[in-house]
Amino acid sequence: MSSIDWVPELAARLDALVPLEDSPRADWGDVVARTGRRRQLRLWRTFPRRRLRLAIVVALLFLLLTGAATATYLLLRANGDIAVPGRGKLLVFNPNGQRLHAIASCPAHSPSCAIGSPAWSPAGTRVAFLRGFYGGGNAPSHLFLYVAAADGRGMRRLAACGSCGTQWGEQHIAWSPDGRWIAFTRDTGTRRRRQEALWVDSAAGGRLHRLTYCHPSCADVQPAWSPDGHLLAFLHLAPTSSVWHLYTVHSDGSGLTEIADGAEPQWSPDGRRIAFDLRKGGIEVADADGSHVHLLIAGKSPGAPSWSPNGRKLVFFNAPGWPGHYRAEVWTMNADGSHKKRLYRSGCCVDSWAPPIWSPDGRMIAFSANSARGTFVINAEGTGLRRLSSIVTDSLSWQAQPKGKQR
């Protein structure tokens, strides 16, 4: 230290002016107390700022992921699994495409066996389906109605039903809204005299009884139970007639009423109206008593309508093109026929498909088509198309999430 930096004489004088004292008055606790951060001090010491930042980032990421998971859970909570029959099995997929398990399957080395027409019970706890030999050409079908729990356990054969109406459309099994009964077409006639009437059996089995009668040769097919459980709508076919007749009947077999000419009846969720296909093509809607028939869409190919769960929209299948060159399309429209919107269009050519169905929460739609090369789910507004499976099927069923079941 140079003399310029330190002047001893000055230092001595200053020392005399302000002498150095001992420090008995030092009190570090008082300093800390003045900051008001005694607790935080401990926290900082045990949790340095860099680590805290990392912890905050991790926590935010965790919240983000859990939030996304929660949103996904809430989105899918009302939606159960989708039953997809094909390749000798009845498979179950969840809406994001994950294959879960097989509810039922045909015996090995039994190529003539097939499974189809799945229908989840209203509560989503059981599934009914047809299993057996599907005929072709002149070969008659020998099918059986089965019921199994959602996980495939407790599979039970309820009744033999012959062709079970499978040669007529895709709508073969109808659960009563209370889940106690199952309506289906049962073939009890001969090859010459078809006797395909509607029958009802208890979902637990053992209470099979006939609901409709048709003589001498007819078919009552495509049953649809009204939401209040009082009526069944169905298609009555008279092979000698070129007209499709839609009827309703009380669940005890009384009150048979013809309501319209059409097929594939679909009850609106409020039970007041029925949408149906026209034989010439197009979709109509009528009140449950057959009045106020209203054409929703005309054309040769639109058909297979399905009501959204809130009853505001309908989804339907369309196959524009010409013979041998049809494309598969999925459309939605308002319940009054307005605001038609195409959600999906496949390439050429469709000849096997499953009618589009709504998810129980009304946010998604599932469909299948060979021209699309599989079974798909798409958001109701037309976004988010995703393939569930490469299986092409002719019938799908979307499970309502059973109460109390945690996904």
């Binding site: 000055l10 004088r13 200053l14 005399a16 002016l17 008082d30 900082w44 340095p48 700022r49």
Partner: protein, 157 residues
């Protein structure tokens, strides 16, 4: 440097150099109790703003800045008055001339003198404490010596 470590080092400074801090504060404020208050609050300021210190300059200089600033705010009477508890030198010299010259110094020169002689700080630490350049410390101290020289030289006569 994380805040916890800054806290730890500030505490070490306090425990090791409390006397120097208190002495400089006493020189600035001219009162023992006020000096203690300035030191305590100065260190509390340093802790409150520990997160703002980003290893720029010596930590000691930064803490000194907190204490000096707090002392300057605390000061209630001009420093030209002899501290009430200051001991009279026993060599018989009258320090009034030195005190008068100290009081007449510009504040920066006076603070540099205090930090240099009462706290024995290096130039860079003084620079950090007063937020000036190191070269400025040297020049300021040189000027202070020149201004004070008459005072202490006369006192030595």
């Amino acid at each position: 440097m994380d805040e916890a470590r800054v806290w730890s080092q500030v505490e070490s400074l306090y425990r090791a150099h409390f006397s120097q801090f208190e002495r400089v504060a006493r020189a600035i404020v001219g009162d023992r109790d006020l000096a203690l208050e300035a030191v305590q609050e100065g260190f509390a300021d340093a802790l409150r703003h520990a997160g703002e210190w980003e290893s720029r300059g010596p930590l000691e200089g930064w803490v000194w800045r907190c204490v000096v600033n707090r002392a300057r705010k605390t000061r209630r009477r001009p420093v030209l008055e002899m501290p009430a508890d200051a001991r009279r030198p026993d060599d018989g010299h009258d320090e009034s001339e030195l005190l008068a010259r100290l009081a007449e110094l510009p504040e920066r020169q006076r603070l540099v003198v205090f930090l240099r002689y009462f706290a024995d700080l290096e130039y860079r630490e003084i620079a950090a404490a007063l937020e000036i350049e190191t070269g400025t410390v040297s020049a300021t101290l040189h000027a202070a010596h020149a201004n004070l020289r008459a005072g202490y030289e006369e006192a030595l006569v």
